[in-house]
């Protein structure tokens, strides 16, 4: 990055920065004003199936990017490839201008690109606090030559503990500090994993389904935490199926289907994209079928939709048919 660019970004509040993210059109594979990750021709096939086949993708810096797509679209595989947990069959990819081809996963993490896992990984037989401490970087006591002498790592350990306490409080895990991580619930483990990844003080946090299994009340505070990461200068890339979350916090959405990037853009725009609706969202993703309001809404939509009117006049009208049926059932 050039120096003038650095100076420009210094005075920007990342929370309110509303300059366009892409340079030019919001097309799949478009160039970004300030990319942190650039992937080119990254492919990975398992047997005959192309799990990932990304022609060109840039992740914008200081933004929250959501990666969405149907199951099996290759989102997690792309995560694995970017973080060195899996090796692509071909392609180039770089983080902050450093090529990551052939770089092992722990070095990727040290560069500042830290991930969480879809299937949560906590160290069950370590306490929550020890899990957190394990995340911290630059602990000299982690070297065998210094491990024997507490004088050489004791002070850093105190800093780490203080940092961990702050994070645990934020994630509402402070009461569980001394419990074994294995005693946490699934949602709490998600939180612990995310908090632990922040102990590394990463530049890019990659969260694989951070909201899966977290209760609604906690979801709200977690969303705020993720937004705040941006204020602290971090970049976030996350995979999520919860469209509300995507709408609320993402600045940019990348849609994958069958290994390819099919659409990119700000959330509002992407969700109206017919290709995305076809591949992932479905035509009536806005409708909550759980309540009567939702069904009426859907009905209105279907009536207006030429294509869904097939056969009889009544086709597409759900509520009037549904209700007598229910009574019959009782």
């Amino acid at each position: 990055m050039s120096e003038t660019n650095e100076r420009n970004t210094e005075n920007i509040d990342y929370m309110t920065d509303s300059r366009p993210i892409a340079v030019g059109e919001n097309t799949p594979g478009c160039k970004k004003r300030d990319p942190i990750v650039v992937a080119e021709d990254v492919t990975r096939s398992f047997g005959g199936i192309n799990a990932v086949d990304v022609e060109y993708l840039e992740i914008p810096r200081h933004k929250i990017t959501a990666l969405i797509g149907p199951n099996g679209a290759g989102k997690t595989t792309l995560f694995n490839l970017l973080t060195g947990f899996d090796t692509p069959n071909s392609g180039k990819w770089q983080f902050e201008g450093n090529s990551l081809a052939g770089v092992s996963s722990y070095k990727v993490a040290r560069m500042g690109m830290v991930r969480t896992f879809q299937l949560t990984k906590v160290m069950g037989k370590l306490t929550v606090m020890e899990n957190m401490r394990l995340g911290a970087a630059d602990q000299p006591g982690e070297r065998l030559s210094k491990a024997l002498f507490k004088g050489m790592w004791g002070s850093r350990e105190k800093e780490i503990t203080a940092q961990a306490n702050v994070l645990l409080e934020k994630f509402k895990l402070d009461a569980k500090k001394d419990d074994y991580a294995a005693s946490l619930s699934g949602g709490q483990r998600k939180l612990l994993e995310m908090a632990r990844s922040l102990m590394v003080r990463p530049k890019l946090v990659m969260l694989d389904e951070p909201m899966a299994g977290v209760n609604p009340a906690l979801t709200q505070s977690l969303l705020d935490h993720i937004k705040n990461l941006k204020a602290e200068g971090m970049t976030v890339l996350f995979v999520e199926h919860d469209m509300n979350m995507v709408r609320h916090i993402a600045d940019w959405v990348v849609v994958m289907a069958e290994g390819k990037v099919v659409a990119e853009g700000p959330p509002g725009e992407v969700m109206k994209n017919p290709a995305v609706i076809d591949a992932y969202l479905g035509a009536h993703h806005d409708v909550d079928l759980g309540d009567a309001e939702g069904i009426k809404e859907l009905e209105a939509e279907l009536e207006a939709d030429e294509e869904s009117v097939v056969g009889t006049e009544d086709a597409g009208i759900l509520s009037e048919i549904e209700e007598p049926k229910k009574e019959d059932g009782r």
Partner: protein, 322 residues
């Protein structure tokens, strides 16, 4: 039956040099399996490497004691590298297969007739302990019923056990030990936090292996002979028994486990012999009794795993989530 004798010989086992050797080797296994999750089924191989490394450098090259000791330790480090480089990138089970095979390879290599001039083949090597006993600071006489040689080897053996226990304890409470425990739980998670998992596993394998090599030396010195048959697979499994008896992820566990193991072996042996000699048990010969006690060890291990899987010192809470 002379219960006084039975008890005193059992108590004698408590601090015998063999018990010290078992304690050290089991401590090495605790570093491997208890703390790092490395399944090493070839600890007998590390002990053999230590014992033969010491004996061969003393006999073939006239090395002084400390040089021979250093060579033995270096050999075990090299052995750990040979085992670790191909397998530590793979899952834990592969290391188990490779170590058990490697320990057997070591045993067969030293048994080969081609190498008789160096290793003594199946007869093994003898008369290499002179450099050790020449350093004995204790003048001749009786020390708690032992002669000065027996007393010296016990002091050195148990001194070494104490030093190694303290070192392992210091290491395991450090951030280095924390990374190891993290690797035991989930190595991918540790990798995602920027730790070089491979290097940590290698360091743990070497440290545990060196403890095994030291144990091999303590094991052979009082015998004055090193023989390949002493380092069979069953030795490894006795060490695992000691480790599981005491508790896996503990420092004192392997030591106490080794003590319990040998006291129980001695008690069952003398009791059975006593019963046979006094005519109470007529359906067993003394040879069979000797074998029966090892069967009892197996039964005891099974009972232990069922009723107290965490061992004597283990933390029950840690197992609640296993």
């Amino acid at each position: 039956m002379d219960f006084g004798f039975i008890l005193s010989s059992a108590l004698g086992e408590l601090f015998s040099p063999t018990t010290a050797a078992y304690a050290l080797a089991a401590l090495g296994l605790a570093v491997h399996f208890g703390y790092s999750g490395l399944l090493n089924f070839g600890q007998a191989g590390f002990m053999a490497v230590g014992a033969y490394g010491f004996a061969i450098s003393t006999l073939s090259f006239d090395a002084p004691f400390f040089l021979a000791l250093l060579i033995a330790v270096l050999c075990s480090v090299i052995f750990a590298f040979i085992l670790g480089i191909p397998t530590l990138r793979l899952r834990a089970d592969y290391l188990a297969i490779v170590t058990i095979a490697a320990a057997e390879i070591v045993r067969y290599v030293v048994t080969t007739n081609q190498l008789t001039s160096v290793t003594g083949s199946a007869n093994g090597l003898a008369a290499f302990e002179g450099t050790f006993y020449s350093m004995n600071p204790f003048p001749e006489g009786s020390y708690m019923g032992m002669n000065n040689r027996d007393f010296f080897i016990r002091v050195v053996g148990w001194g070494l056990v104490i030093v190694c226990c303290v070192l392992v304890w210091l290491l395991m409470r450090s951030p280095w030990g924390r990374v190891l425990k993290g690797i035991r739980e989930d190595e991918n998670a540790v990798r995602s936090l920027g730790k070089n998992v491979y290097a940590y596993k290698m360091q743990a394998l070497i440290i545990g292996g060196v403890l095994g090599a030291l144990a091999g030396m303590i094991f052979t010195l009082p015998r004055g002979a090193v023989q390949p048959s002493n380092y069979g697979t069953e030795l490894t499994f006795f060490l695992w028994t000691c480790l599981l008896l005491g508790g896996m992820a503990t420092v004192l566990g392997p030591v106490i486990g080794a003590m319990i193991f040998w006291v129980v072996l001695s008690l069952t042996q003398s009791l059975l012999y006593g019963l046979i000699e006094s005519g109470v048990v007529t359906w067993l010969t003394t040879v069979q009794a000797g074998q029966l006690r090892y069967i009892l060890v197996g039964v005891a291990l099974m009972l232990l795993m069922i009723f107290r899987p965490q061992g004597v010192f283990g933390n029950k809470k840690e197992l609640a989530f296993a």
